[in-house]
């Protein structure tokens, strides 16, 4: 499984600090940090610990098996953020 950030994210960065696996991106100070509309969890790296859920001040993070219906797109969207990033990195390399 993985945790997933939904569109309610306000980019309060508390989850980044809380994550022991360092799987929430972009990182603070990254070039694209202010440009992205929300933060994303890398499903390949998430260790399912739920520390981010407690840290989030707006309850924007859910386990993949309990995502509310109105955010049903979010699982794919989080994964896609990382898939597109690695494609861009490969293309740039």
């Amino acid at each position: 499984m993985t945790y997933v950030i939904t569109g309610s994210c306000i980019k309060d960065d508390a989850c980044i600090d809380a994550c022991p696996a360092d799987c929430i991106h972009p990182k603070l100070g990254a070039l694209d940090f202010e440009a992205v509309e929300q933060l994303y969890i890398d499903p390949e790296v998430c260790i399912d610990c739920d520390a981010c859920v407690d840290a989030c001040p707006v309850d924007a993070i859910f386990a993949d098996f309990e995502i509310p219906e109105k955010h049903d797109y979010a699982l794919e969207l989080n994964a896609r953020f990382f898939a597109e990033q690695s494609t861009a990195e490969r293309t740039a390399a």
Binding site: T6, G7, S8, C9, I10, K11, D12, D13, L28, D32, E34, A35, V36, E37, Q38, P57, V58, D59, A60, K70, Y73, L77, F81, E84
Partner: protein
């Protein structure tokens, strides 16, 4: 000898002020922090801006509360700095003053008819439906069949939803009672949304855009021809466009491909590459003229809208909401940059006209960087300002003020503002509103006039207990 107190006044208890207060408590525990606010209630646009149907975001107030008021910051509400107490008075009572006053007015379009009755800044509509006490008396005529929203940003997305949600959806929110009543009677069936630039340049987040396309009983229409990207935009999207822009174009194509839903209760029509040129009507808004634009690359490489040489199209409508951005207003006796509409500053240290730091004066949030970013953007912004402030406190750059005892400012405020709202007053307002909400099975029922708010704060409101 008693140690010298460090006392900081933060002016404005919105998100920027709250994040700054929280950061200051965290990084320099010995500093005393007073949060000044011109309204009787804290949290600024979190209470008065964030749309009522986004209650999850309003939960941020619990974090603000526990990290500021819960850690000893004082709330001094219903006090307007510049009116009830001056900048120089604050400077006599505090080691430092941090301005977090935001951007309090809207940008204008600069077109004829903009001021006709029925043409409003979207921010006025927002303040009205969110129960801002200064906007309660506004009367929005929702009797026409069509409304036009100008702009493609997050405020536009909010007002579009508020115009199209069902009454029973609104009833589950903390929308102000007067607005709920008016919106229940609304006869608006169609909201036409004008974007100056194209689908690749919309300022909606993809989450907001998706939400507009998934409202219950609302048909979102996009003309397939309008989502065809021009060559400049296509190149930009492929080479420079971010994740959100790509997702937005994808979503808009999806929406354009959907079959029309004639059974829908209401319609939203997104029109791109359109600028308003004139609003007309006999004594009130009746129609708006709109001309087409094309995308061109400016000298600085950015993609801009340029007017096409063609006749404008006329759209009949009874309500126009203009949502093309906020703008800050100057503060008395504090430097102001008239070109960028911010306090001139370097990392939050306010600068004099000759570019030197003005000792003890700082800025945070929209009055520092301009009206950009989302709620969390203010956290980094506040941390930057607080780093400078703490650095200056540590280095001794900020001498103690002549009147540093809290009793002295308290005496001044008691004389000027006997109805100042403190933390106890705010707690009473909050409890009153939440209790009314519980009774009506709503998250909160707001007190939407200053008198009601002040009565609740003073404990003299005809409370739910008496009802």
């Amino acid at each position: 000898m008693a140690s010298v107190r460090e006392r900081v006044a933060i002016v404005g208890a919105g998100p920027a002020g709250a994040y700054a207060a929280a950061s200051l408590r965290l990084n320099r525990a010995e500093v005393e922090v007073d949060l000044f606010e011109r309204l009787p209630t804290p949290w600024g646009l979190l209470r008065g801006g964030v749309a009522p149907d986004h209650q999850e975001i309003k939960r941020l107030q619990d974090t603000f509360d526990s990290q500021t008021l819960g850690r000893g910051c004082r709330f001094l509400g219903n006090v307007e700095v510049g009116v009830d107490v001056s900048h120089s008075e604050l400077m006599r009572h505090y080691t430092s003053v941090v301005y977090a006053t935001g951007a309090q007015t809207d940008k204008s379009l600069g077109i004829p008819g903009e001021d006709l009755p029925g043409s409003w800044a979207a921010t006025e509509f927002v303040a009205w439906y969110n129960g801002h006490p200064d906007y309660r008396g506004l009367e929005f005529d929702l009797s026409a069949q069509r409304a036009v929203v100008i702009g493609n940003g997050n405020v536009a997305a909010d007002v579009i939803r508020m115009l199209t949600l069902r009454a029973d959806e609104l009833e589950r929110t903390d929308v102000a009672d007067h607005a709920l009543e008016a919106l229940r009677e609304s006869r608006i069936e169609e909201v036409v949304v004008l974007g100056r630039r194209g689908p690749a340049q919309v300022a909606f987040t993809s989450a907001e855009l998706r939400e507009l396309g998934h409202l219950d009983g609302v048909d979102l229409r996009v003309d397939p021809d309008e989502v065809e990207l021009d060559p400049e935009s296509r190149r930009w999207l492929a080479e420079e466009g971010g994740f959100t822009a790509r997702r937005n174009v994808e979503l808009l194509r999806e929406f354009a491909d959907r079959p029309a839903r004639p059974d829908a209760r209401r319609r939203i029509e997104l029109r791109f590459l359109r600028s308003p040129v004139e609003i007309r009507g006999a004594g009130r808004v009746e129609e708006i003229d709109v001309r087409g634009n094309e995308i061109v690359r400016g000298d600085d490489g950015s993609l801009r809208a340029r007017a096409r040489d063609e006749d404008p199209e006329t759209i009949e409508c009874g309500l126009v909401l203009r949502s093309v951005g906020y703008r800050a207003v100057p503060l008395p006796h504090v430097p102001f940059d008239e070109r960028s509409f911010v306090l001139p500053n370097e990392r939050g240290r306010v600068l004099t006209p000759d570019g030197k730091p003005l000792p003890g004066v700082y800025a945070v949030g929209w009055i520092k960087r301009g009206p950009t970013g989302i709620l969390g953007t203010n956290k980094r912004d506040a941390e930057e300002t607080v780093r400078c402030l703490v650095e200056d406190l540590r280095s001794g750059a900020l001498p103690p003020p002549p009147r540093s005892a809290p009793e002295q400012i308290d005496a001044l405020l008691a004389e000027r503002k006997p109805d100042m709202v403190t933390i106890e007053g705010w707690r009473a307002i909050d409890a009153h509103e939440l209790e009314r909400g519980r009774r009506e099975q709503r998250p909160r029922v707001k007190l939407a006039s200053r008198d009601e708010l002040l009565a609740a704060a003073a404990g003299t409101a005809g409370g739910p207990a008496d009802a």
